[in-house]
């Protein structure tokens, strides 16, 4: 991990709610992989105090691309203080053919960097948008990505749920940040209803808790797993939901 500076090179609105920002970054950040993130600091003042966690959505021509809400204002040439790389890459299986990404009551941004990577490796990608995520406009995603929209009640449910869960070799789920634990507990409960024996390394929760340090120093992102404890900032953001103690 390093403290570096990044510069905004380009800003482009990509759909109704989001803009993509192209960042010139320190070389060390070009090693970033799907699942990993950076902690960004935009001001010289102490308000806001915490750094923002930015999950890149792509790495293109040596530039890092991040996706941010349109409501935030950025400027070309703006310098951003970056701490990173944060976390571990998603642990994809070697023999991977179908991946299911699920965003439930939260924008799918932490999952999007997988898409160019998986498509380039000839893996099919399905993305299910549930709850408030259904309003996330996918027009800018590659056409190869299959999009499933949740039911109107905002439940953990979509039309081809049984089929997509069955076909998927791995599933990565991210949920609304209010009470991630009980949301993930509901997710695994629902998946278990559909697929009696949920195998290891199949269903991953992608945690989005606030990370004060991102370095393993503050211990506020510690979770319990069946092997002891783990830090989201060092070992996450993705954890096998069958291993996390969600109570």
């Amino acid at each position: 991990m390093k403290e570096t500076q990044a510069v905004i090179e380009r800003i482009k609105q990509v759909n109704l709610g989001y803009q993509r920002i192209e960042l010139s970054v320190d070389e060390s950040l070009l090693q970033i992989k799907p699942g990993q993130s950076i902690l960004a600091r935009l001001t010289e003042t102490w308000d806001p105090y915490l750094r923002q966690q930015w999950f890149p959505v792509n790495l293109l021509n040596g530039k890092l691309i991040v996706e941010r809400p349109l409501s935030e204002t950025y400027e070309i040439g703006q310098v951003i203080h970056v701490l990173g790389i944060i976390g571990q890459p998603f642990r994809f299986r070697k023999t991977l053919r179908n991946v299911l990404l699920v965003a439930y009551d939260t924008p799918p941004i932490p999952l999007l960097m997988t898409i160019p990577w998986l498509l380039a490796n000839k893996v099919s990608v399905t993305i299910a948008l549930l709850g408030v995520a259904t309003s996330y406009d996918t027009q800018h995603l590659p056409p190869e990505v299959e999009v499933e929209l949740g039911n109107n009640e905002g439940e953990f449910l979509w039309q081809n749920q049984v089929m997509t869960l069955g076909w998927a070799d791995q599933v990565f789920v991210t949920v609304g940040p209010d009470n991630e634990f009980s949301r993930f507990a509901n997710v695994i409960e629902r998946v278990r209803e559909l697929r009696h024996d949920v195998p290891r390394h199949y269903l991953f929760g992608v945690f989005q808790q606030l990370l004060p340090c991102g370095a393993g120093a503050c211990h506020s992102c510690m979770i319990r797993t069946d092997e002891g404890t783990a830090l989201i900032c060092l070992e996450g953001p993705a954890f096998d939901l069958t291993q996390v103690i969600l109570r």
Binding site: W46, Y49, L211, C218, S220
Partner: protein, 305 residues
């Protein structure tokens, strides 16, 4: 510029730079080694340790505040024995003293913990963390237990709200140094869940409050080193505590937001001052390194049309 931070004459702790990270903000000495030169710090204070293992807290653990943050961790740790096993080697190799932060739970657990810690050469001293709601009487009991039991110096970290009341009592009970103070506790509403969360408040605004407590206590306390701790975010913040009479300082949450500020403060207080223009250290500086991206842009290589 070495300075004695404890009055335990037998095993007094001497540090070369009057600063160290605060317990709970720096892990166990194994993090930040990529970012800063840990050797330049005066000492390391470990994350809080308890005799028995403690689980992490559940629910919301971090609430953003204006210019600050409220954090509730539950002080998770694998217990004293496992902690020592995991970090003993690392601490033995550290060129600076390692101070173990021990949570002051019960007299019985303190007794057992101190006996165990005394066996470890790699630990220079113990920082006893008092509960925020402790009475002076209880505090005295726990400190006496710790002091009587062991050979290593015992530093005591006081709560902010009751520092005045507890400081003298604990000094008389044999504490070898006082840390004034632990981050104050607070209650804030988690914007995500709407629930109130109770935890520690970290912010630059804590500094004026604690600085005043340190200033006031320095006039009353005699012959006990005081370590100033609370809200240090700049070199000047750290110097202010020393000017108020503190022997050393502990730097807390700025480490999370700007890790290199720890090294900057250490270099400043250690006399290895930082060059103004670039924030670079003299032994690191090379011509042109001041040209941050922002500077380059100011010179006209603008990306703006």
């Amino acid at each position: 510029m070495s300075v004695e931070i404890t009055r335990n004459t037998k095993n007094a702790i001497t540090i070369q730079t009057p600063m160290m990270p605060a317990a709970g903000t720096f892990g166990f000495g194994d993090v930040y080694r990529d970012i800063i030169k840990v050797d330049l710090l005066g000492a390391i204070v470990t994350s809080p340790v308890t005799y028995e293992p403690w689980h992490p807290a559940t629910g919301t653990k971090v609430v953003p505040l204006d210019s600050g943050v409220l954090v509730h961790t539950g002080l998770p740790n694998p217990g004293l024995h496992k902690t020592l096993k995991t970090y003993r080697n690392l601490w033995s190799m550290m060129p600076i003293p390692v101070i173990l932060h021990l949570v002051a739970t019960t007299a019985e657990q303190i007794r057992k913990s101190i006996t165990r810690i005394d066996e470890e050469e790699c630990i220079a001293g113990i920082e006893l963390g008092l509960n925020d709601d402790i009475s002076a009487q209880e505090a005295v009991k726990l400190v006496e237990t710790a002091v009587k039991r062991g050979e290593k110096p015992v530093l005591v970290r006081l709560p902010m709200l009751d520092a005045y009341e507890i400081a003298e009592a604990v000094a008389d009970a044999g504490a070898d140094a006082l840390i004034i103070s632990a981050p104050p506790r607070g209650t804030a509403r988690d914007p995500k869940t709407g629930k109130l969360v109770s935890g520690r408040v970290y912010s630059p605004i804590v500094k004026p409050m604690v600085l005043r407590v340190v200033g006031q206590l320095m006039r009353r306390l005699k012959e006990i080193p005081v370590i100033g701790a609370g809200g240090i975010h700049t070199l000047q913040d750290a110097r202010d505590y020393l000017e108020a009479g503190a022997t050393a300082v502990q730097v807390d949450s700025v480490a999370w937001i700007q890790p290199d500020m720890l090294e900057k403060i250490a270099r400043d207080l250690g006399g290895k001052s930082v060059t103004k223009e670039t924030g670079a250290f003299p032994d690191e500086w090379y011509p042109g390194m001041g040209d941050t991206e922002r500077e380059k842009r100011r010179r006209g290589e603008s990306f703006k049309e």
